[in-house]
């Protein structure tokens, strides 16, 4: 039975429950809703919730646990001998899943009967031949054992799936019965319903925690896996980045330092563009600009923040890069080889960060109390002297926080560097050379058909972990500084 049908059945049961619960409550009060403890809606909702919440909870749990159980159950059938040289249990399991899927398809198009597909005594060569006839891909890696594992996989997943469907419907009906029997005119339906809703609200709020936990777990597991194959010291202190794509590790040198250098260099250039422009713009907008200028210029700058990064990436790749080459390239000064360089990515990223710096600084400058400005102006200082000697020092911690936030954005930015910075990892001082960054390498190591077991793919998780730790540290520091500062004037 498809999942959508099951969901529909449960929903129908729930709606029936709603109507029944409401009727029963009204009936118990003799048809007069004034005799009830709660409004009739709550009696209905109570039954509805006692159908839906346990049934859906069970379904979610089952959908997560069943594959885990089947995997561990089936993989225990696979012997050492099935795992070939250079392969892994994960790959063999993928093979098992594919064969199982092939059997399903073969049964569906009628190339095989159901008994034949699940028969324990089925002839191996006959089976593979029939599978091939049915248009299913069967590689030479399929052994008798794998075929049997696939059959077991099918059988147990089918059984568990049926069990899940039956149990879910039983639970829904039990919920209906429970909610229905509880319904009575003195039953405190509203309190119960509100408690359930509160629990759902808390669950929704916990998604944020779950996400963080998910991020950390998925990074840690794979990073640990990576460090098991590849020494951590070589990763953190290695000066060369040259993954080999053909072999299975061994020859790859996966040093973090050149990537970190590229990231920091590009971010530095981006900040060198964004911070002065953003800061001056913020000062002008908050201290000098007439309301009309402010009403036009502020949203115009913020449009820059609303443009997706893919647009900036394309701008770097196709407009800024060629422009820089025409000035600094072979025909001009001769410093630049190709269109993608640290400068290209840095400049464009700087443009992207201008509104980020300017609107954060604008908020902070605006929150400096007016009394401080008035005091300074009253002493005869000009406006610019007030800004330089009173407002900026007072706003400095906040501005530092804003710059840190911008820096963490720059370090985590992906599309601009993927498209504008180049692919070669290099330790060089020349800003017109192509370099690469942590984020760009995460993308290039994880796109394509990687099997998550080679160090070349797993290194991306270690890179992601480093990126996560660096940006998280900067964010926490920045938020801390900004908050501490805000409290001073509140």
């Amino acid at each position: 039975m498809p999942l959508s049908l099951l969901l529909a059945i449960i929903l129908v049961i729930a709606v029936v429950g709603y109507v029944l619960g409401r009727q029963r409550a009204l009936a118990s009060a003799g048809g007069d809703s004034r005799g009830l403890h709660s409004l009739p809606v709550y009696y209905g909702s109570n039954v509805l919730l006692s159908v839906i919440v346990p049934a859906f909870g069970f379904l979610i749990l089952a959908l997560i646990l069943i594959p885990v159980y089947i995997d561990s159950h089936v993989s225990s059938m696979i012997t050492e001998a099935d795992v070939r040289e250079g392969s892994s249990l994960g790959l063999v399991m993928a093979e098992v899943r594919r064969v199982a899927e092939g059997l399903d398809n073969a049964v569906q198009i009628g190339a095989m009967t159901e008994e034949m597909a699940s028969g324990a005594r089925a002839d191996f060569t006959d089976m593979t031949a029939r599978l091939k006839d049915a248009g299913q891909v069967i590689t030479g890696d399929v052994t008798v054992n794998i075929l049997q594992a696939a059959q077991e996989y099918r059988a147990s997943s089918k059984m568990l799936h049926t069990a899940m469907v039956v149990l879910a419907i039983v639970i829904a009906l039990a919920g209906l019965a429970f909610g229905y029997t509880r319904t009575d005119k003195d039953f405190r339906a509203r309190n119960v319903v509100e408690k359930v809703i509160l629990a759902l609200l808390i669950a929704a709020a916990s998604v944020a925690i779950l996400t963080t936990v998910g991020i950390i777990l998925s990074l840690i597991f794979n990073t640990v896996e990576f460090f098991r194959i590849y020494p951590a010291t070589e990763f953190f202190f290695g000066l060369t980045w040259s993954p080999s794509f053909s072999g299975r590790g061994g020859l790859s040198e996966l040093g973090f330092v050149p990537l970190l250098w590229g990231t920091l260099y590009i971010s530095f250039i981006a900040l060198a563009v964004a911070v002065p422009i953003g800061l001056f713009a913020a000062v002008y907008l908050s201290e000098y600009a007439t309301p009309r200028v402010r009403a036009i210029a502020k949203p115009a700058l913020e449009v820059l923040a609303g443009i997706p990064t893919i647009v900036y990436g394309l701008f770097a790749l196709l407009t800024v890069g060629p422009l820089l080459v025409s000035v600094f390239g072979r025909d001009g000064l001769g410093w630049m080889g190709g269109a993608s360089s640290v400068m290209t990515a840095g400049l464009v990223m700087g443009i992207m960060l201008i509104p980020f710096v300017s609107s954060l600084s604008d908020d902070i400058i605006n929150s400096v109390p007016q009394a401080m400005r008035d005091g300074s102006l009253g002493l005869g200082a000009t406006k610019s002297e007030t800004v330089k000697q009173v407002i900026l020092p007072a706003a400095l911690p906040g501005i530092v926080g804003a710059v840190l936030l911008a820096a963490s954005r720059a370090i985590g930015e992906t599309m601009i560097v993927v498209m504008g910075a180049g692919a070669a990892a290099r330790l060089s001082m020349n800003p017109f050379e192509a370099m690469t960054t942590v984020t760009a390498k995460i993308v290039s190591q994880l796109t394509g058909d990687s099997d998550f077991s080679s160090p070349e793919a797993l290194v991306a998780f270690a890179l992601g972990m480093s990126l996560f730790v660096i940006t998280l540290g900067m964010n926490i520091l920045a938020l801390h500084i900004v908050q501490k500062y805000r409290e001073q004037y509140d």
């Binding site: 709020a205 443009i307 893919i310």
Partner: protein, 456 residues
């Protein structure tokens, strides 16, 4: 009485000397300070001008490079559907017709164009009909074949077709390709362009608005003239559906809990810290999360809009929570107090009174969050939305969520990676469409805010 004996201030004589002429004349120091003031203001104006200049350059280069993608060159030519080639048995049997592959159709088009050229008396150095093939798209025979399979009765007649020109010809019409740039091109000669110039004069070749770019599917690397963004638009649509259906309820529920019910304790502090940190986590990290959890662990299909939607949901949740909380906070406490005062429970006060009043703000925040999600690319690269050529429109709703597809930004990225410069034009054109969507969403958000937001 002490006035007389009061000592003259030290240096007053010197100062009087300085102001000997007029108090209004600026001294050197004042001049310097005023100049500094002027300079400082000029820096500010310069900074804003640079920012706006960048914006203008960005927009101009998008529009200038993207507009050509919306027109396409077509060759109008009458094609004789030769029965001897298309239907050898002569019985119009659909199965027999299907046996003729596109290779059988290509010569018909070549001959048709060659005949048209000769009939019009155009001068050309080409002597063989086969030389005409460089001017037409590789997709043209398929177009002809589809037509014939749909209308078998037309075989043996001469039918007027509007055939897609090849990308080189299209580039020549748009000024992207010049005679010099094809000097070493194996696919086409400058002589073809001479012929095109003459065909333009006779009206057989023209550029028209290209609906296929907006509604069509992506094409293979060698056929940029055929590529469109329509299918990936559908992918984006399904993704946004997932994001909307998940992030709006979850985000609103979480905000209601945090803003209205949460006691101040460690658990709620933990949630708060988490939300503010998640808002600043690089988007690529969410891609890693999606890859590890949804694809590696849960075995959901790669490149599916469902997975993309889930990842983007997690990414936009913090944005939606933050804006929803702000609009809940803006509802004055007197509303809650009044509701509680007439006997509503806390839950009723929130759901019946506070939430409806905060709805415009929540909606605005959600639309802005969706706009952000629509333009996001980096996490989608990791879950396999790139490298997949989206050529088929998903059949049905379930397939829309589960079968592999691309999304608008991923499609643009894909085009920008391809070798043929004709694809760059498509990428810019795709950006125009993407930005139009974002602009519409933001304008709706602004209108909602202006129209419905109340200030207390």
């Amino acid at each position: 009485m002490t006035d007389a004996s009061a000592p003259t201030p030290i240096g007053s004589g010197a100062r009087q000397g300085k102001h000997a002429t007029s108090l209004y004349a600026e001294d050197a120091r004042t001049k310097k300070r005023n100049a500094a003031e002027k300079r400082f203001q000029a820096y500010g104006i310069a900074a804003i001008s640079i920012g706006i200049f960048f914006l203008v350059v960005l927009l101009v280069s998008i529009v200038r490079s993207g507009i050509p993608a919306f027109t396409q060159t077509f060759i109008e030519v009458p094609v004789y559907l030769d029965a001897a080639k298309l239907d050898k048995n002569g019985n119009r049997d659909p199965d027999d017709l299907r046996k003729v592959s596109t290779f059988g159709y290509a010569p018909l088009i070549d001959n048709a164009i060659f005949a048209a050229v000769q009939d019009a008396g155009l001068t050309t150095e080409f002597e063989k009909a086969k030389d005409m093939r460089a001017m037409i798209s590789a997709s043209a025979p398929a177009q002809l074949r589809d037509y014939v399979l749909a209308n078998p009765s037309e075989i043996g007649k001469t039918v007027e077709f509007k055939i897609l020109a090849s990308s080189r010809v299209d580039g020549y019409m748009k000024g992207r390709v010049t005679r010099e740039s094809v000097a070493r091109d194996k696919n086409i000669d400058a002589a073809h362009f001479d012929l095109i110039d003459q065909l333009v004069e006779t009206g057989d070749v023209e550029r028209t608005f290209n609906w296929d770019f907006i509604t069509g599917a992506d094409a293979s690397e060698s056929r940029p003239e055929q590529a469109g963004i329509g299918v990936s638009m559908i992918g984006s649509f399904f993704m946004m559906l997932v994001v909307l259906c998940l992030s709006l309820p979850i985000g609103v529920a979480a905000s209601i809990y945090l803003e209205e019910f949460a006691p101040k304790n460690r658990f709620t502090d933990l949630i708060e810290v988490n939300i503010s940190n998640l808002a600043a986590v690089p988007s690529i990290v969410f891609g890693i999360l999606g890859l590890a959890v949804f694809i590696q662990f849960a075995h959901l299909p790669q490149s599916a809009p469902l997975v993309g939607g889930l990842v983007l949901t997690l990414m936009t949740l913090p944005t939606i929570i933050i804006s929803t909380r702000a609009s809940l906070k803006a509802v004055p406490p007197s509303i809650r107090d009044a509701a509680l005062g007439v006997g509503a429970s806390k839950m009723q006060a929130v759901f019946h009174h506070v939430l409806p009043l905060a709805a415009p703000g929540i909606l605005t925040g959600t639309i802005i969050g969706l706009a952000q999600a629509l333009g996001e690319t980096a996490p989608l690269l990791l879950i396999g939305m790139v490298g997949y050529i989206a050529t088929n429109v998903p059949d049905g709703i379930a397939a829309g969520f589960l079968s592999p597809n691309s999304s608008m930004p991923a499609q643009i990225y894909e085009w920008s990676k391809r070798a043929d410069p004709a694809y760059y034009e498509r990428a810019w054109g795709g950006i125009i469409i993407l930005l139009l969507f974002l602009m519409t969403m933001n304008i709706i958000a602004i209108i909602l805010r202006r129209r419905f937001e109340r200030r207390w």
